[in-house]
């Protein structure tokens, strides 16, 4: 696991080099991430009481400046998790009344990210960040670019704090998994 982390650290500059420079690549990257966001939903065991009604929407919220353009809307258009249709919300800040299930935090500053994560800590919310963003640590899922592919790391401890159980299949696929007592 440690070796993995080292590898990620070594690869990180190349990944950013590959992912960042041309504009079309960036939009493609976020198009993939947009689909990953809603695709994460089935691999998470949402605690009872997550939804207020059987047809209550599954809210995917984007905190901070939206990098997805309309990819996210396109990706979730017409899709459902069970009986819950996906819905995209864009928020500037975390408010107590928000009922987001997945929150993609994309603040440019680390302090904002940390604040948002703190605000969401303990709530049944799957927090997702971009690994190359300012200070993305503390979120449950972090997107990373590996070999030109969008991959992710998972902080299982953070998930446990938020009362979420992540499917082992997803954990298997993660480049790195932070457990509660290790890593």
């Amino acid at each position: 696991m440690a070796r993995c982390a080292v590898a990620i650290l070594l690869m990180l500059p190349f990944a950013t080099l590959l992912a960042l420079p041309p504009q079309p690549d960036i939009s493609l990257e976020y198009a993939v991430k947009a689909t990953y966001l809603y695709k994460l939903a089935p691999f998470v065991n949402w605690p009872p009481g997550t939804f207020t009604a059987a047809d209550a929407p599954f809210d995917i919220c984007v905190l901070g400046p939206d990098p997805f353009d309309d990819f996210l809307e396109k990706a979730v258009g017409g899709r459902k998790l069970g009986t819950h249709p996906f819905k995209v919300l864009r928020l500037d800040a975390v408010a107590p009344g928000d009922d987001c299930q997945i929150v993609f935090i994309h603040y440019p500053r680390a302090a904002q990210v940390r604040a948002a994560l703190r605000a969401l800590d303990g709530r049944p919310v799957l927090t997702v960040t971009d690994a190359e963003d300012a200070d993305s640590s503390g979120s449950i899922v972090q997107f990373v670019i590996r070999d030109g592919h969008v991959r992710f790391e998972i902080d299982n401890a953070a998930a446990a704090r938020n009362h979420l159980a992540i499917s082992s299949k997803l954990l298997d696929l993660a480049l790195e998994v932070k457990e509660a007592n290790g890593s």
Partner: protein
């Protein structure tokens, strides 16, 4: 003769049942085979489906997050199962995530795969919770024919064994039936042989009875024949003595009559001369002559009686001789109808007015016999019949030509015969009487009225003529006497001459 038919029937019916059983068995065997094929196929499909399910369940994350490496690893892991031919994982938009196939096999194409209705190709959606994230395709490698055959070999073997056993059963049944039929035929042959044997035994016993009878007759005949000759001789002596006696008697009568005539003349002369003394003597002499005449008359009657008796005795001896066949027959060819026609007046006289004589003459063939004896026999039979009908009745005399076919069983050759029948409507005979009717000296008539030689004499004559005599009688139903003589085959014209 329903039995052979039945055996034939059963011989036919039972193999049919066995053939039906065999056909049924084969049908059931085929059905079981097909069923087993299908069951094995369904089982295999279930296995593949469950393998596909397993893959689908584990590959969802890799599909969702486009991790082809992970997906390929899952696919490779599944392909370790050598019975699988190809495995493919597609994402929800139909892009191939990972696909593996055995060398030489074509990769799975979902478009043609759905059209392809192969039983061993299954498609399973990869679901994470309720969300379908992709599809998993698994194709099983074709099961070799040897394997499939091995799978159904149990049923095939059982069926074949059952068919063989049934066939053996059928063959055994057939053989058994045949053996049964054989045994049945043999039993029938035995029964037939037994019947034949019994028939032969009866015939033999009849022949023995006849032999005994004829021996008895022979003995009686010889005895009576011997006696009859001597008796006849003695009768002749007595007869000649009687003749002489009569002759002598006639002579003495003539002398006495002469003397009486002379005496009467003298008496007439003396009466005129009145010589009473000597006349007295003459009259006394005449009286003596008259007395002698009366006595002679008496003697003559006795002689007549004696002669009569001797004649009867002679007749009797003649019959005895005939019975003993010592009497030579002067046989010639004759038609019985002609013979009976000749003696019809005689027969008519011999029966009383209250007996009707009916003739049914229908014989054209000739027989070889002694005419006198034959006439005598018929007369005797008619008289017997008459005596059996003291109240009157009817006597039917009939003749007929009879052809007797050859009888295989008794070895009797075909023969032509002429039958003479004398039937009456009289008192008939009991079986006991009938069985003894032909014995010599047996008679039912009162003592002195019958000699008991009538029928036995006829029998002797008939046997001498190579014929047969039979009596059929029942008490109160009358009696039928048949005389059967062989047909005379010689040319008739020579007989007439």
């Amino acid at each position: 003769m329903t039995r052979p038919a039945r055996t034939h029937d059963s011989m036919f019916r039972k193999p049919a049942a066995i053939v039906a059983s065999v056909v049924l068995l084969l049908l059931v065997g085929t059905f079981a085979m097909v069923y087993q094929f299908h069951a094995a196929s369904a089982e295999r499909r279930r296995q593949i489906t469950s393998q596909a399910d397993t893959l689908a369940a584990s590959v969802t994350a890799a599909v969702s997050f486009d991790d082809r490496t992970a997906a390929r690893e899952y696919v490779r892991a599944l392909m370790l199962d050598p019975t699988l031919d190809a495995v493919a994982v597609y994402d929800e938009s139909g892009h191939l995530m990972a696909g593996e196939q055995r060398p030489g096999s074509s990769p799975i194409d979902p478009v043609s795969g759905r059209a392809e209705r192969r039983s061993m190709l299954v498609e399973v959606p990869a679901r994470q919770g309720a969300t379908v994230v992709g599809n998993v395709w698994v194709r099983a490698s074709a099961v070799p024919w040897t394997m499939r055959l091995a799978r159904v070999s149990g049923v095939v073997l059982l069926t074949i064994m059952a068919v063989v056993m049934l066939s053996l059963l059928g063959v055994a049944q057939r053989m058994l039936t045949r053996a049964n039929a054989d045994a049945h035929r043999r039993a029938e042959e035995l029964t037939e042989a037994n019947l034949r044997l019994i028939g032969e035994m009866e015939q033999r016993s009849r022949a023995e009875e006849a032999l005994r009878q004829s021996q008895k007759m022979e003995a009686v005949g010889q005895l009576s024949g011997g006696i009859a000759h001597d008796f006849n001789n003695m009768l002749m002596i007595v007869k000649s003595a009687l003749v002489l006696m009569e002759h002598r008697l006639g002579q003495s009568v003539a002398a006495v009559e002469r003397f009486a005539e002379a005496a009467r003349v003298r008496i007439a002369a003396g009466a005129q001369q009145d010589v009473s003394e000597p006349l007295q003597v003459l009259e006394e002499a005449l009286a003596l002559v008259a007395e002698g005449r009366a006595r002679r008359q008496q003697i003559k009657r006795y002689l007549e009686t004696a002669n009569d008796g001797i004649d009867k005795a002679a007749d009797l001896t003649r019959r005895l001789l005939a019975f003993a066949r010592r009497q030579p027959l002067s046989a010639k060819s004759v038609r019985l109808d002609d013979l009976i026609g000749d003696i019809r007046p005689l027969l008519g006289h011999s029966v009383g007015a209250n007996v009707r004589l009916v003739y049914e003459l229908g014989s054209h063939w000739h027989v070889f016999c002694d005419v006198n004896q034959m006439e005598n026999a018929i007369l005797n039979l008619v008289i017997n019949a008459r005596d059996a009908m003291p109240e009157g009745g009817q006597i039917t005399i009939s003749t007929a030509d009879v052809h007797v076919d050859a009888d295989e069983r008794s070895g009797q050759a075909a023969v032509d015969q002429v039958r003479l029948r004398v039937a009456d409507t009289g008192v008939g005979m009991s079986e006991e009487v009938r069985s003894r009717a032909l014995d010599p000296f047996f008679t039912t008539k009162p003592v002195g009225k019958g000699t008991g030689l009538g029928l036995s004499t006829i029998l002797g004559y008939v046997l001498q003529s190579n014929g047969r005599l039979s009596i059929d009688s029942e008490v109160d139903k009358g009696t039928i006497v048949d005389i059967v003589l062989p047909r005379e085959m010689r040319d008739v014209s020579t007989e007439v001459a």
